[in-house]
Amino acid sequence: MAERYDVIVVGAGPAGLTAAIYAARARLRTLVLDESIPGGQVKTTHKVSNYPGFPEDVKGSELAAAFAKQAERFGARIARAIEITKHDLGGPLKRFELDEGEEVEAPAVIVATGAKPRDLGVPGETKFKGGGISYCATCDGAYFEGKDIHVIGGGNSAVEESLFLTQFARTVTIVHQLDTFQAEPASAQEALANPKVRVIWDSEPRAFLGETSLEKLRIENVKTHEVRELATDGVFVFIGMVPRTDLLKGLVPLAASGYVETDESMATPVPGLFAAGDIRVKRFRQITTAVADGTIAALAAQRFLKDRR
């Protein structure tokens, strides 16, 4: 027998946890599923400076834990480190099988699975993942004490995580495909002024090279087409995200970009199925915009459940 909930939220990032706070406070039986610990991308962000209510910087991991604690205070159950091994979201009662065992179901589901780091798709990337290539500065930064490392990308994540990495590394060389940063001006200027940070503009990685561990990064200047190999102790990749839409493929329309289309109330064309946060087609993906989506999705789900009674 599947255990019955009113709302099942998939993804415990800012959107999903906010949806859970609202749903649980509305006395809906609420379950949140996540394949990791709560927090989504926020949990591996070393500091958050622009989330309202925190006049000083807050660690991403602390903010994430606070979101989860708040949702649990109102009675939401957060299932951590689970894997969805089967799902059927098309019908009036949506079902999930968890870890090849437990079954859960609910008439309303909010998919807030967000996005994951984009792979570069260049030779050697798979081989050196965890062997010199990293996607998480807080996880691996401290091991590069006194080392010379490279960061790929030029957006907010790339620039801010580069600044974080300067605490440990001897030099941080940012390789960016354009000739200016896309990051917010404040952090872009801070990076350019930091004596440990160097920037190679107009260049893209072409290969990761090494015997057993990563030794060199091959880059190409996209304007001059000059190819160079740089000795490196480690490479951190922050080149944007791709949406996690596995649960929704074939069920709801996806935009050409791969993101999910919803209406203003976060509803998909499937009754009772909502999407919130970074997974949606939207112009800006911030913690604050994810939180807004989660709020709206929970309120819309609450209305949906009320109307169908």
Binding site: E83, G130, S134, C136, T138
Partner: protein
């Protein structure tokens, strides 16, 4: 940590891993590493499931940097699969290690023909 998972130091690695008769899964983890925290309950669950068939060990990377470096482990978490002192399955690393993927790697490790 549950009773099916044991923490070892770098000094114990040769005896506990390389010289082990039973196949061994080794998890290199760090603190301040959310993907490591996320892996821990999956590691515990799979360890329990394969109790008696394989051993599940953890190495704290910060305190055992030399060993990690020697093995070329530069990301946390990283899982290594040993049988008779030889790595017999592809390493798993990062935020995306699913329980089913870990199980599949353990199963392939167990099926590996004996070396030596």
């Amino acid at each position: 940590m549950n009773m099916h998972v044991k923490e070892i130091s770098g000094a114990q690695f040769d005896a506990e891993v390389l010289a082990s008769d039973a196949p061994v899964v080794v998890d290199f983890y760090s603190t301040e590493c959310p993907p490591c925290e996320a892996l821990a309950p999956k590691f515990d669950a799979v360890a329990e499931q394969f109790a008696g068939q394989a051993r599940f060990l953890k190495v704290f990377r910060q305190a055992n940097r030399e060993l990690a470096q020697k093995l070329g482990v530069t990301g946390s978490p990283t899982l290594l699969f040993f049988r008779r002192g030889i790595e017999v399955a592809a390493r798993l690393s990062g935020d995306e290690i699913k329980r089913t993927a870990l199980k599949a790697s353990v199963e392939s490790m167990l099926q590996e023909p004996r070396h030596g």
